[in-house]
Symmetry: C2
Subunit: 95 residues, 2 copies
DNA sequence: CACGCGAGCGGTATTAGTATTGGGGCATGG
DNA sequence: CCATGCCCCAATACTAATACCGCTCGCGTG
């Protein structure tokens, strides 16, 4: 076995990370945040949509930095997903 | 070119991350930490040696968690490398 | 002393997956 | 209209993660 395919759990974890980042981005545009973070808008979009379940470490760091988000809070929000998202951000998410 | 090769800066950044993780591991063995973090010892060793300059986000998270290291302090230590390592850890490193 | 042992290192090989560019498509609002 | 913002698809270069091999070095033990 060389490199095992990602499990379902790992993919779901990636989706939670994406949702957390999208919620933090709120009303700013993908292009805005991506260029400021030094990555391509397509990559950010894929991360937010969970299409990149295990993004590179420094990529996540750069995005979180632009969003003014501490990595520790970001991780804390991953465990319990939606339950931890404030009502206001939920509305933003559903828009 | 679809995906440009990593720059020298990015590789050096990976080496700093590796050194920081190794310093945090201190006296514990690679195998011990790696298995506890759920990754292969080979991978952890390569990350510590800078051979994996941009490791996956959750891989770094798992290792930092096992080492009891906050991601925020880990990142803070990356900027200025050795100057920020306390004397005690430097001695450990040189051993 | 010689021996093995634990720990780590470098090389190579393999597959899964990331990051990126560029294309097109569909709304919404100035 | 046309810009903005988001989405999907395809192709491609490069990397992550894993595994196996042999090698080295320090340490304690017989």
């Amino acid at each position: 076995m060389v490199r095992v395919p990602l499990t379902l759990d790992e993919r779901e974890r990636g989706e939670r990370l994406g949702r957390a980042l999208r919620a933090a981005r709120a009303r700013r545009s993908i292009v805005d945040v991506a260029t400021q973070a030094g990555i391509s808008p397509e990559t950010l979009r894929k991360i937010e949509r969970g299409r990149i379940p295990t993004p590179a470490f420094f990529t996540v760091v750069a995005v979180a930095d632009v969003l003014g988000l501490s990595l520790d809070e970001l991780l804390a929000g991953l465990a319990t997903d939606t339950e931890r998202i404030p009502a206001g951000d939920l509305a933003t998410l559903a828009r």
